[in-house]
């Protein structure tokens, strides 16, 4: 009979645990937005964490940049202006006079200089943007609100990189410097002038991070309403994000799988927002591979013509558009009217006929991140098309860390890989230079493509201060990249956000497509 008693106790406990509890009474009734991000943000040091990842949303909450991407624009923020000399080698940055750090001290040119120097000294995260063009002698404080930057070599797009410079408070950093430039301390503390502060009581490693609004934020808060804070809650699985949204446990989420987005569209109380993306996918073909097949432009063209582009949006359940070239339309410098490849088997066969392998009969590898079905399916389109040319495509999943290393050298780069790459500053140059200039071999240019004319056009574009001239040069380079059929441009995934219907104020900013500007949002 004791068993019966035990069983009864279990039932009572189970039922008891299932009863809705009184936890709501313990919740603070503040306007706090809970965002289900599926990525962790374990380090919020702006000199260590690159702005390309999800941590960027935390960084722009805690720190202010010199310029701020908002919507389609790049607006002055801590800086009032940045003007270049005629050749783009010397820049003068004027700061606004009223900006203050969270401790009340003013944001000065000295602080901006210190921030630059710290990044160049640490040589991590965002340093790649400035290391090739700046050194310790580049920076001169002209007056408390003016900084002069003399670049090692001219760079007309220097101001475009400034939204990635998040200014730190030198006094706070120095006070916590234990010989490491305060890197250990800034992992989970902040020293900025941003609209939010870290709530240390609710900063739970690997679980969630709470940001609380700084009431004395120097730029002020929108009059219509604003958040008292927001919580970045890590919800890793798309299905769990979906359920949390439906149940109302979170107010917003991103990176939800296309299937789940479809379901959410039908759910009450949530709204799905989609915007053109800026992170294109492409199938990188190794233009110098020892096997020679993909080194032949005719083979590359044959594969590009055999690729059924109309299937790409279906793979994303409609949450993607077919690529319109190397650069997505949402990015300044996009060149319309390029001679793109469309699915055409006759042209594919004609191209292959011009190669040393007119009847195919060879195999190429396509490597994609293990467990990533979209990348696999994008490869399956290639497989199906290539099969019609008697070319076998071997789809191989691989732990991505291994591929990241393999692709840095021509000798180890596979024949083809699946790749997404986001632009890290607001100009086509961010994609073009890093992916098709021979300077970037193994650092974005994984095709190991080299066309001296493209190199020359991109170099001239980088030193051209006139946006129209620059766009023209970039358009010429894009045309050559397409003509050389360096890679297969497949599609651009739309930026998808799902919000509870009471969430207001989201401003989609293409250059921060995965980083909501929480300072402008509120919950009704």
């Amino acid at each position: 009979m004791s068993f019966v008693r035990v069983a009864a106790a279990i039932v009572v406990l189970a039922v008891g645990a299932s009863l809705p509890c009184l936890e709501a009474t313990a919740l603070e009734k503040k306007a706090v937005l809970i965002f289900a991000g599926n990525q962790d943000m374990p380090n919020v040091d702006p000199a260590v964490t690159p702005m390309s990842v999800y941590t960027a949303s935390a960084l722009i909450a805690l720190y202010d940049p010199l310029f701020m991407y908002r919507g389609d624009q790049m607006l002055p923020h801590l800086a009032a202006s940045a003007t270049a000399s005629a050749d783009g080698s010397e820049w003068t940055i004027k700061l606004v006079a009223n900006a203050k750090f969270q401790d009340g001290s003013p944001v000065t040119a000295e602080a901006v200089k210190y921030t630059f120097e710290r990044i160049l000294r640490i040589k991590k995260g965002p340093a790649w943007m400035w290391l090739p063009i700046m050194d310790e002698k580049s920076l001169t404080v002209v007056d408390p609100h003016t900084l002069r930057v003399k670049l090692i070599k001219p760079f007309a797009l220097f101001d475009r990189t400034l939204p990635n410079l998040l200014v730190v408070n030198p006094a706070v950093v120095k006070a916590n410097d234990k010989g490491d430039d305060a890197q250990a301390w800034l992992v989970a503390h902040s020293a900025g002038s941003g609209p939010f502060k870290i709530n240390e009581e609710n900063w739970r490693n690997g679980a969630q991070y709470e940001f609380i609004a700084d009431p004395s934020y120097w730029k002020g808060w929108p009059k219509g309403g604003h958040l008292d804070g927001y919580i970045w809650k890590i919800v890793r699985e798309s299905s769990a994000q979906k359920l949390a949204l439906i149940k109302g446990e979170v107010h917003g989420a991103q990176n939800i799988s296309p299937d789940d987005v479809d379901e959410l569209r039908k759910s009450a109380g949530v709204r799905v927002e989609q915007y053109p993306g800026v992170s294109p996918h492409r199938i990188v073909m190794h233009n110098r591979h020892d096997s020679k097949y993909l080194a032949d432009v005719n083979v590359r063209k044959a594969l590009a013509y055999a690729y059924d582009y109309s299937a790409v949006p279906k793979i994303y359940n409609g949450s993607a558009e077919v690529s319109k070239g190397p650069v997505p339309p949402a990015l300044p410098g996009f060149a319309p009217g390029l001679p793109l490849y469309a699915y055409d088997l006759d042209k594919a066969k004609a191209s292959l006929a011009k190669s040393p392998w007119p009847n195919g009969g060879f195999e190429i590898d396509y490597i994609y991140p293990a467990g990533f079905d979209i990348a696999k399916n994008l490869g399956a389109i290639l497989l199906a098309g290539a099969a019609k040319l008697n070319i076998k495509v071997k789809l191989t999943p691989m732990v991505w860390a291994n591929v990241l290393s393999m692709r840095t050298k021509s000798e180890t780069m596979p024949q083809s890989i699946s790749l997404w790459l986001a632009p890290l500053y607001g100009d086509s140059d961010a994609l073009l230079y890093s992916q098709w200039d021979s300077d970037s071999w193994g650092r974005g240019n994984y095709s190991f493509y080299k066309n001296p004319k493209v190199d020359e056009l991109l170099t001239r574009a980088r030193t051209s201060l006139d946006p129209k001239v620059r766009a023209d040069l970039q358009a010429q380079a894009q045309r050559l990249i397409v003509e050389d059929c360096v890679d297969i441009f497949t599609g651009v995934e739309k930026a998808t956000y799902v919000w509870r219907s009471n969430v207001k104020g989201y401003v989609h900013t293409p250059m921060r497509e995965r980083n909501p500007l929480f300072a402008e949002m509120w919950v009704e």
Partner: protein
């Protein structure tokens, strides 16, 4: 005294085991293809940025120097820093390990509370409907993929019926416990916050059920088999002949004798749960050590991988020792 000497000897034997683990993990981690410095430095890193990581993590030095530094640090409780997050691995372990231990403890308690009575019931009512039910549930428990089971439980219990939270250790806006042990339930208990205990327990139910599903099934089956075996022994017939009630016979004499098998199964389940809870932690966003290790492996982040492996090795050794000692408690014939 015998037991203490035995335990001390077993504990000492853990030292060479751990040393062996460190050598194997150290060499394996460096044998896998890929350049961790390049990975940590990032997509667009310049060669000099990659060098910074190589120098900072001693990857530019001979293997024996790296190993000596690694062991030297570990002896002092310093497991190094993660290459990707810059955080001390010791701090990461301190925040992730208690979460996994709490979940594991809850799962094993659940497995015992459900599995043992089900197994006994199944054996006592052999080949009758309670037995059929228990066996069906046990079979289902081992057959369901954890991932699917987790999503179904979330869908039904958390969303459709709104009985339990979907995931996490705590409601997002709730002022969490002061971190003393890292076990939320215990930390709330320590300050007498009963509501906190209740909330933490509710968050434990679904992940513990998922993680423990396999163990519930295994314990049910092994308990049934053992109890059936013991029920046929002479001393059981004697006890019944002496007029003891069936509940006393089964509860006091049969179960104690049949528990050795169950104990072995608990040991197996515990070692599995400590290292293999990645899926459950992922679906329920449980910030545990399994996910941490998984992420580190994918990123070739040597320091956390090494620390995790050593830690799990030590924990498995301790669990095995504990189980061995418990054998003696249930069966005095097995005294060491």
């Amino acid at each position: 005294m015998h037991v203490l000497r035995y335990a001390a000897r077993r504990l000492l034997s853990v030292v060479p085991t751990v040393f062996g683990i460190t050598v194997v993990v150290f060499l394996l981690a460096r044998a896998v293809p890929g350049d961790p410095a390049q990975l940590a430095a990032g997509e667009q890193a310049t060669p000099e940025m990659v060098e910074v990581f190589r120098r900072e993590y001693r990857l530019d030095q001979p293997l024996y120097v790296q190993y000596a530094a690694y062991i030297g640090g570990m002896v002092h409780g310093d497991f190094g820093r993660s290459m990707f997050t810059g955080r001390p691995v010791r701090d990461d372990l301190a925040s992730f390990l208690p979460a996994t231990l709490e979940l594991t403890a809850a799962s094993i308690v659940l497995a015992l509370v459900i599995g043992v009575p089900s197994g006994v019931l199944s054996a006592v009512y052999r080949n009758r409907w309670p037995d059929q039910c228990a066996r069906t549930v046990a079979l289902t428990g081992v057959s369901f993929p954890v991932f699917w089971l987790a999503m179904m439980l979330q869908l039904v219990l958390a969303v459709s019926w709104d009985l339990l939270p979907i995931g996490g250790r705590f409601p997002s806006q709730y002022k969490g416990p002061r971190n003393v042990s890292g076990f939320y339930t215990l930390d709330f208990l320590l300050v007498g916050d009963w509501e906190g205990v209740w909330v933490a327990l509710r968050h434990l139910v679904l992940p513990a059920l998922c993680l423990g599903a396999g163990a519930i099934a295994s314990i049910t089956r092994i308990t049934r088999t053992s109890v059936v075996d013991v029920l046929g022994k002479d001393f059981v017939r004697t006890a019944r002949a002496m007029g003891f009630s069936e509940s006393v016979v089964v509860g006091k004499y049969v179960l104690k004798n049949a528990f050795i098998g169950t104990l072995t199964m608990i040991g197996v389940a515990l070692t599995f749960m400590l290292g293999g809870s990645v899926l459950v932690e992922s679906v329920f966003d449980w910030p545990g050590i399994g996910l941490y290790a998984f992420k580190s492996i994918v990123q070739l982040d040597f320091q956390p991988i090494s620390a995790f492996t050593v830690l799990v090795g030590v924990m498995v050794a301790l669990v095995n020792l504990g189980i061995d000692l418990l054998y003696g408690v249930f069966d005095p014939r097995i005294r060491h």
